[in-house]
Symmetry: C2
Subunit: 252 residues, 2 copies
DNA sequence: GGCGCATTAATTATGCAAAAATCTTGACGG
DNA sequence: CCGTCAAGATTTTTGCATAATTAATGCGCC
């Protein structure tokens, strides 16, 4: 179901341990004991070791002889990995991370739309139109709408015909699903359709500036809706106000 | 040495097989035979299996009973993974990929600088100053300059204090190293220092627009230098002219 | 006689346990 | 202070058993 071979026992163990690291059950610096895991999860050493190897490749853990396996600092995690973004969503919604997600989307997607307006093929437009059609359907259920929404944004990035830009869909997907989890009422997005249509029209017309502006407006609207639903700070581009780290020495 | 536990035999095998997939030795759709690999590389079943498991988590391969292990289509690869970007550089320089890399950098870095101008701390500025100082040293050798250059851009992204933005350093690093591999003459970047200094000054002054503009100008200069060194098409933002895919139906 | 379907069988990945080899680390002695 | 050595743990190896999936085969049906 997932991106890779998430089948079988192995994938389940990887997800379990990875999830525990992401949600803080295993904190950075803490050592992970493979034998405890194999007893608790009732699997063999091999499976645990393979799982830890995969997690090591994602920067989550590191194993050194005589010292054991320990969780690496969060700054070393490959947060752009699709699995990590998925596991991150399993825990409690982190407002800070949500804001980061939205911020990156606000950078990536308008730029992607700008490129897409120049490079889109007829197939790209067809994909976007299909997604929009589902999005506009009156009697569509929530999950179908979410998937169509995701398909639309995916198609938009793909239309930029930049391989790396296309891979940034992981960020878009994470942001989209996170938002849907918060508002989680499937039927109050009738006003999202015109905004999406504006994006499609600008891209189809080959208008880079218009496409970028349309996406910005779309994200802005989604942001206000989100802030309204979450009841947090108001305003479309509201941030965690002020210094994000300690000791902001900005002088204006 | 690398991002994760690249130590030991296992990491070597992962890199070997992964490199072969990225350079086309193992083409998408082709089946990979674990027993042949364990004979050829002279390792046990377990090591090959663990390596393939890691590669599966990066979307490079998929294993299914009765069908064997086969290379997945390139569109499924997690190209934002640090390892994959590194392995990609091992092969012949791909102009298309290089252009994609530069294009994404041109989107990410100015936006990052814009945020950094607002949120940078004194520690961020100190890190950038240190890197710039090394960059400006008269007698520094090539590798030291490259590392300092990379440190500067890393510090810039970190100063945006957006966790995901910071992770996009993998793209910046790939682009930077790829460029350095092409021009590969260590001592013709004296003119890169002023451009970097302009970025630092704008960020320190808390000038978002100025910081973004400075980065754009920096990337533009690097792009012209690259085009000049590679002898390809001229112009700073030169692209592969026209439709990137088949059947561009743009009417605008 | 050709076609569709369920059953069977073969092939492959997957999981497990135990033992050997290799390396790191810390201590001891020169 | 440095080199050697020993202890400990991890990594690696080996062999085998199990499970899952696909392809083929045989049957009944149109």
């Amino acid at each position: 179901m997932a991106a890779y071979s998430g089948r079988g026992l192995h994938g389940h163990i990887v997800e379990t341990i990875g999830g525990r690291i992401l949600d803080g059950t295993y904190a950075p610096g803490q050592t992970v004991h493979p034998d405890e895991l194999e007893r608790e999860l009732d699997v063999s050493k091999t499976v645990v070791r393979e799982a830890l190897r995969v997690l090591a490749s994602k920067g989550l853990v590191d194993s050194r002889p005589k010292r054991g396996t320990f969780v690496r600092p969060r700054s070393e995690w490959s947060l752009l990995d699709a699995s990590l973004l998925r596991w991150q969503r399993r825990g409690a919604p982190d407002r800070r991370f949500l804001a980061d997600l939205a911020e990156v989307r606000a950078i990536i997607e308008p730029a992607g739309a700008r490129l897409a307006a120049t490079r889109r093929t007829e197939a790209d437009l067809a994909a976007m139109r299909e997604a929009l059609a589902v999005l506009a359907e009156p009697g569509a259920d929530a999950s179908a709408v979410i998937e169509a929404d995701l398909r639309f944004h995916r198609a938009l990035l793909a239309a930029a015909h930049n391989e790396l830009m296309g891979r940034l869909e992981v960020v878009v997907e994470a942001g989209l699903r996170e938002r849907d989890r918060i508002v989680h009422s499937g039927e109050r997005w009738p006003d999202a359709v015109p905004a999406h249509r504006a994006v499609l029209d600008a891209v189809a017309a080959g208008d880079p500036a218009g496409a970028a502006a349309a996406v910005e407006s779309l994200l802005e609207q989604a942001s206000t809706d989100l802030a309204h639903a979450a009841g947090g700070e108001a305003g479309p581009h509201a941030r965690n106000s002020g210094a994000r780290n300690s000791g902001d020495s900005a002088a204006g």
